[in-house]
Amino acid sequence: MRDLNRIKCIAGVLAILLIVSPFVLARDYIEVWPEGWSEITPLFNTSIFSDRFFVAHDEAGTSFLSVDGVYFRELDLTYRLFKDQAEAEEVVLRKGAEITNAYMGLDGKGRRHILWLERSSGSYTINYAALEVPYGGHKSFALIETGNTVQDLAAFQVGESIYAVWSERDRYFQIRFAEIRDGEVVHLETVTDTPNVSVRPSIIADKQGLLHIAWMETTQIGVDIFYTRRVEDGWLTPRKVGTGSVQDIQQGGSIALGVFDDEVHLVWSALPPSSNNLHVYMAKADSLGELSSPALAAVGSRARFLAGVDRPELVWQGIGPFGAQVHYRDHEGNDTNLTVGRKGAFRPEAYGKDGFRYGYWLQAEPNGSYRVYGINNEFPKAMSLWRRIGLDEQAPLYHVLFLFVSAFMLAGVYTIGNFGVVIVAGLIYGLLQRVGAYKRQGLFYQVALLGTLLTAVRRLPIPAVQPRFFGAVHHGLAYILATLGTFVILRKVRQRGLFLTIGILILWMLLYQFFALIPQTILR
């Protein structure tokens, strides 16, 4: 009896240590890295007052244009040049102004051309500046000044010319177009003529130099995406591409354009009929201007085509457990979640160069500011075995213990949450047991049948909590392990009947939830 008490005492201490130590010594989550990609590099602080920041690459390095600051009426328009992952130049082009949009284009000769939209008391100005690398000073000019409300400046650079579009309220919001050369507006016209509200224009030029514009038009019943292109005698009659969303406009979304082969691709966000979440839609116009039907690409918003690549590749802002996350899709349709850990990432921009991909996005900082982060697949981070399986490489055993305890406790809660499923599966099994052929089967068959019944009944509309789905392989593995585990644990039980059935049901469900919850617990 003394030996038994001693064993109980030791077992109790061990159990307490097992339960408590992982929480004390292990971190509460692990950052899972996209394989083949670099460390995430924090670059510079910026703001979210402008809809996007710009990134472009040439032989001088990677150039950024951002609107920085903490108060929306005192923002700094800042140009930065990064070389070899380090900041080489930082120039504030305009200090302390209310800047709503900005654009940066590279002309291929090393010059950076900057446009920005500025609001001051009662007027809006579109301004221009150009600078060279290395920086040797710049002058800025007000190209257009108006008392009309102006918003959503966008532009595209072809050689020495910048083609700019914006939305201007002149009784109604219309899309306006300007060609800017050598710091002067050489051509100015209005593209739309409609009582609808035309906003969020985007512009691009194809390989023949033809200009293409897409914009959003809000009507009484919703938002439409329109497209037109310029021919010798002006803009063609605008054609509807698809449906947009007021929610996307409110969140600063726009239509991204890309030219691949002879086609102009469009990507934007809208709400599908059955969802409250923005989804990314794509369409294209062929060389004759024929439009394809919009195709659903992904859940998310703020999609952009990668610059500098031959085929359409996307980055967009998806929805993750910790807020927004950034996804990348290559030309073969393979998706990679570039976001690491539990930090929300949003407003992605990306480009390709020499077969490598470079992605940038914003992240909120603990002090309330926003910072641009970058990732690339040119310098992939070494992936240790621990990291590959999602374990903390500094304390893998403690992390395993932590996962064990967390997943086991969660599995108990999830098993209770599947009470209805267990009851229904048990009743079906009870009916089957009335057939002699099923009653005579061995334990392994009974466990497999009950497990399969439970997985099938889970699909019925019975209130239950389910672990997140981590792919068919993990789901299948959790099923096999739960079945084998239940069999191994109960194989020596001699009793047959109701109690064994209840035991199998509960034990199988507990084991299934435990194994299925492991990746979810890692990412928690």
Binding site: I389, G390, F404, Q441, L453, F470, V473, F514, I518
Partner: protein, 61 residues
């Protein structure tokens, strides 16, 4: 159930849990860490097909 049997059972449970965990980690090591997604309809059909196969085995044995 004697004490020795209880320890054996407890050991088996621990072995199943940690062994299964090790197999899950091995699958991550081989296939990479899985990212969460949405279950597709064909998985439900596969589960149903497997259930039918299981139900058919005793009838044709």
């Amino acid at each position: 159930m004697n004490i020795r049997q209880s320890w054996k059972t407890a050991g088996t449970v621990i072995l199943v849990l940690f062994g299964g965990m090790a197999l899950v980690f091995a699958s991550f090591a081989l296939g990479g860490f899985p990212f969460p997604g949405e279950p597709t309809a064909h998985i439900a059909w596969l589960e149903l097909a497997f259930l039918l196969v299981l139900l058919g085995i005793p009838l044709f044995r």
